[in-house]
Symmetry: C2
Subunit: 415 residues, 2 copies
């Protein structure tokens, strides 16, 4: 029996207790966790320092080290994030349906926790707290498997949480951390059918691909975002420029930023130079299709690979298309079912685009950057699902639940 399996067995047992906690009990635990986190800030920062030292020694990229870094302020923000989750409505116990069957049996369909949620993530220690608090609020136990870069920080945060659980007579295995950060431990976690009810990978395309390929347990695929903005021939061009700049440049490293701009040929000559000028302020590198390269000078020709690439950087592919259908076909071929937008004044065109493009979120005249649990009003987010099963788009508390049929009879049997 592997170490991860015994952790998950512990989490399974704990999940049965956590599922029965009242809203008040869960909120009380979350507030206590938030307070304990702040009280233990210096310990957590000291452990985080060990991760940072190792990261610097190992020559990690600056962006990676930044994600890893905790500060007093950051810990305070994490604690407040947890308190906000406590304030959210509890999804558990909600009656989804209620009816009397022809047999006279009374059926009540209720929202229940999923059970044990596995989370595999990379070097962001704040995920440790965010994810386990969301799981706790939704009545689930969590098995966390973070990256080796954040192991000391993760251990510190999890130990604070487990102490609070124990002190309040809740099985601390409701929050488990896999401390073995080898590839083997990740593979073992993915194989624990019957113990892990849902596995959520959070991280880069490589991690997500590996989980989808190897998991034997149900997975919710998250994160990959090869998003597009299509400027229709009936677009308001200043609106198109403004949205393009925002969708590309406001935070290029995130999944809801755009990677490719599609432009209708009728307005390409007018639109592209203005857009190039606006994007040049952010030093965005443009890679263009042949028609784009004819209109704009000094840009790199785009390859087929470019169309399929999520740059997460100040790079934008530009393609001129001859129709709405071409734009939709391009997106349905290269998109990752995340967020897609059209700029147009024609509402009929907008509806056709939105109905035929396959994505979690489809926009007209707005930036794809809004695809986010907080922006969508879910109050929280554990990731953005890019699959169609179970959850689609930003996942909040409700997406961490299942349902259960309760049937009340008085001796009914079936013919």
């Amino acid at each position: 029996m592997g170490t991860v399996q015994s952790l998950a067995e512990g989490a399974k047992l704990a999940s049965r207790q956590v599922a029965l906690l009242t809203t008040e009990q869960k909120n009380d635990l979350i507030y206590k966790i938030a307070n304990a986190l702040e009280e233990n800030a210096s310990m957590i920062l000291a452990e985080n320092r060990r991760d940072l030292d190792a990261a610097e020694q190992n020559g990690l990229r600056v962006a990676m080290i930044d994600r890893l870094r905790l500060t007093e302020t950051r810990i305070h923000d994490m604690a407040n994030g947890a308190r906000e989750v406590a304030e959210l409505p509890d999804p558990i116990g909600e009656v989804l349906e209620k009816r009397t069957l022809t047999s006279g049996v009374n059926l009540v369909k209720k929202r229940v926790p999923l059970g044990v949620i596995g989370i595999i993530f990379e070097a962001r220690p704040n995920v440790t707290l965010d994810a386990s608090v969301l799981c706790l609020k939704s009545g689930n136990a969590t098995v966390l498997r973070g990256g080796k870069e954040a192991i000391y920080s993760n251990r510190a945060i999890v130990s604070v949480m487990r102490d609070v659980l124990s002190q309040n007579r809740v099985d601390p295995n409701a929050v488990c951390l896999v401390t073995d950060t080898s590839r083997d431990s990740a593979n073992e976690l993915m194989s624990l059918k019957g113990l892990i009810d849902v596995l959520i990978p959070r991280g880069g395309a490589g991690l997500i691909h590996s989980v989808v390929e190897n998991a034997r347990v149900p997975v919710i695929e998250t994160g990959a975002g090869n998003c597009h903005l299509y400027i229709d021939r009936e677009a308001d061009l200043p609106c198109g420029v403004k949205v393009a700049v925002n969708a590309k440049c406001s935070r290029p490293s995130v999944c809801n930023a755009i990677e490719t701009l599609l432009v209708h040929e009728d307005i390409a000559k007018e639109f592209l130079p203005v857009m190039q000028n606006a994007l040049s302020e952010y030093n965005v590198e443009l890679r263009g299709c042949p028609k784009t390269c004819e209109i704009l000078s000094n840009i790199t020709p785009a390859t087929a690979e470019d169309y399929a690439t999520e740059y997460n950087d100040y790079i934008l592919t530009v393609r001129v298309v001859s129709s709405l259908k071409d734009a939709v076909d391009h997106i349905n071929r290269f998109g990752t079912l995340h967020s897609e937008a059209i700029i147009t004044k024609n509402l009929q065109t907008a509806e056709t685009f939105m109905n035929t493009v396959d994505a979690a979120a489809v926009y007209v005249n707005a930036s794809t950057r809004f695809t986010d649990g907080f922006e969508f009003g879910l109050g929280a987010e554990i990731g953005i699902s890019t699959q169609k099963m179970h959850a689609r788009g930003p996942m909040g508390l409700r997406e961490l639940t299942s349902c259960k049929y309760y049937l009340y009879g008085s001796g009914q049997t079936r013919d």
Copy 2:
């Protein structure tokens, strides 16, 4: 490129057309399919005869041959089943949520089709029609991979459906049949990430296990049912006997029949002999725990393997337990998350049982045999999910859908 992949690519294209059909168009197609099925009954029966001949030559079990057999009446029933699906409300387009975000963007969350649904099933040609009609009504395309025993019947039924689609200018690839019935074709279907949005296995434990182990696409696990009935110390004993007989004997071959009876020790001596007598009318073989064997004479001792076995036959394991907790622990150890029941007059005990037993459907004082899409009022059923993600319990039209966020802006960008 494999054959199955090219089929699935065709289905993916067709799915985009099917997703946009109106309710009226879909219902019209389904009625025409039902009529065409009856009009082509003699052709279908002749093809079915070829399957039956092969089955007899290959010495298939009688039960298997019975499942394979079509008759005029059976075809008429299948057609009427399709007409009933046409009468059901269309889940597609339902507005699930609607709000204006703080940015002023209007959000509408709508129900949409999943896309392409793969179905792997065994020797029941009626599944071919049932499943594709349910998928069509919910706006999905289907790739069917039935067993080799039913290949001629399946080809005949699918050709009738595809003709109706073509005649009505709908891409016939909305219903695709994998005619290669080798294991390779099943494996290829399971690997088609990006083409198959959800894969539903329908059949025995071996098939389902193989799909869960090997699939790279999202799967909804169905069917396995190791169900229990617990007779509490405060049970109405005649009610317990009646429900036990119904849950075991009304149709032992199906997944919602019980396989194990758990009896509280306080009433075991009184209950077990009466129950044994009632079950003897159906020649049910009992396999008992040591305490059961002390109370009842002439019964086989149960092994640990018995507790984990879904007999689908007139065999019942009996175990005496010393508490509600023991009963729940037994179920949570050996159950398959399908249907579990308690007989008790104590509503508090019932609630505890129902809240702590992990199953899609939990019953008090009623037979587990009610777990069924029709009985639950869903109007149809494509299978019974025994996983917690996406769908749980009987799956009707709504369980064949996903959702999509539509966002209407007027140039909004994110800070």
